[in-house]
Symmetry: C2
Subunit: 376 residues, 2 copies
Amino acid sequence: MDQLDQAILSNGAAAYVGYASSIDPDMRYLTRFQTTDPVLFLKRPGERGLVVVSQMEYARAASESTFSPLTRGEAGLFTHWKDPSDRWAAMAAAIAGLAKGDVLVPPSFPIALARGLESHCRVIVDDGTIQRLRAVKVPGEVQEIRSVQRANEAAMAAAIGLIRAAEVRDGLLVLGGEALTAERVRAECHVTLLAHGCRAADTIVACGEQSALPHLRGTGPLAADEPIVIDIFPEDELSGYFADMTRTVVKGEPSPEVRSMFVAVRDAKALALSRIRAGASGAEVHQAVVDHFAAQGYATEGQAGFTHNLGHGVGLEVHELPTLGPVGGPLEAGNVVTVEPGLYLPGVGGVRLEDMGLVTADGFENFTRFDEELVL
Amino acid sequence: MDQLDQAILSNGAAAYVGYASSIDPDMRYLTRFQTTDPVLFLKRPGERGLVVVSQMEYARAASESTFSPLTRGEAGLFTHWKDPSDRWAAMAAAIAGLAKGDVLVPPSFPIALARGLESHCRVIVDDGTIQRLRAVKVPGEVQEIRSVQRANEAAMAAAIGLIRAAEVRDGLLVLGGEALTAERVRAECHVTLLAHGCRAADTIVACGEQSALPHLRGTGPLAADEPIVIDIFPEDELSGYFADMTRTVVKGEPSPEVRSMFVAVRDAKALALSRIRAGASGAEVHQAVVDHFAAQGYATEGQAGFTHNLGHGVGLEVHELPTLGPVGGPLEAGNVVTVEPGLYLPGVGGVRLEDMGLVTADGFENFTRFDEELVL
């Protein structure tokens, strides 16, 4: 937390203040406390941070959080809380009592609480210290993410296993006498993840025309001879860390266009992986892939072709810093990033392949250990 | 959306602006668009609202959202975006161009974006219009929540089924030759929920001493003759609506204290349900339960006894308005609320029972259809 103290001091503030539930990844990172309801986090330089929780959360916070809990009563909240509409003002007064000076807050800090604080002190908006801290993983975090990726590969193997085992009837996939649908494959992924202590939302199983929209969840029967994009991004239920991977498969015979797209995407991924190292910029790695696709005649702007960023950081959020895209800055050793080139052609479908791994001083350590097999 | 237009006008603003992902329930409610990355929502009175999404989300937003999508480029974002550190300023400039006047924002609006907007217009903080709108459910929402509750009851039945089927060896529960743990019961709940298209996080399965902390998740082997509190609050994967219920069971012989606590809690729930109707205040229903417990000699303050609010609204958040607690205001027809009295005694354990249902003009329509059986 030295960097947080430095940020407080260099901004001329007396304390850093956050207010969010652990759905907020910065808050989760700072407090390591998992909670549905928002908690207050406050840290003064050189002092231990504290989290203000409801009385019923106190004992749990004492055992789980990195920091010392204080009940709302102890924090002075009820002293100031005259009626329900006072909520933000009461919290601001309690914070001012604890901060003893100007406060540094994250960019996402609620405007209502900031307005309340402004009648006690200056409110200085931090430029993303916690997000930058989060982008560089310590070994324990790398271990957590690797472990989620193992679960992710089990889920991908289960999904692809269903598609492989299916028969083709009238152009559609059938397994055990029933249509093999996107929903059924998704459920198989999710049950597999649960058994590994992970959960996933919005897993993409998109077939044919659906796969041409990169973020469509996918529904209905899966078809033979069409690309099926499977993109799974689970979160460990306890640690809160994510992993992220994508594979594209065809049951049957892909069209020549899809075969060409697959080769172009696979080569794009290999090219990008070879360019990643500490000091390379996210923008230049992205541009290398843009140039690669453009050289093969694919569009790299608009609604078709390569239409999204090459990759992103992964940690307590599935999308976090750094960015592998047009505005991406220098990569650092300790970044965990995805590399996910994709091509999307309306009327044909989409192909995406995504690996995830660690940026190191001299390269990229790929966490993903999974075949790139187009035809099942 | 008439009430939103009214709020804009009565605050003297030209537009309402939100910026969040669909993790933010207000945003989910307004846009009905499910997304991991933040989107911008903007509405001017009498005009259709619009959502600004990335280009890759455009087609999906067009088919799923209540409102017309605009790409970031169309919204003018890139015109203002000179370099990556310009992000908030660029977005503020684009918003100002669309809002054409002062903006009304929710209390949770990010301070960094508000500061950017303040150089273009006045930023007025709304006092919770959307949360109040969300608190009164329309029939379609009631239907969604009821349906999640059916899934929840299937999960509870599966959990209790495991405990019922267990044998007792050396005071611990054993099923199929293996220890029956909190983790195993939780996994059974979650797999059952998945099969119903729902997901749950942090399901509580807390036994014995663990059950004396109301929000502890619970871990390890389950014991005979001790209370086991099971609290499940799943979310429908597609609709985003929650349900919430709790039961307390004992495999074997409860202590006399636990039996007494169970009766007191069961009676408290019945008492509270009989008091709920439109116009009753959340504070008075809560107080009735406090008085009931106090009359039987249980503490109603501090770390033991009845230590939390009686209940809360349920919808796109598991905890939302209205509050059944000391600061709770009048209930309205259309509120969906939990009633969850509990008693917690360190060294003894905890007992909690929780139902959920609809506040009506003349009473309470309980969605929960599940036995209150202490001894299995």
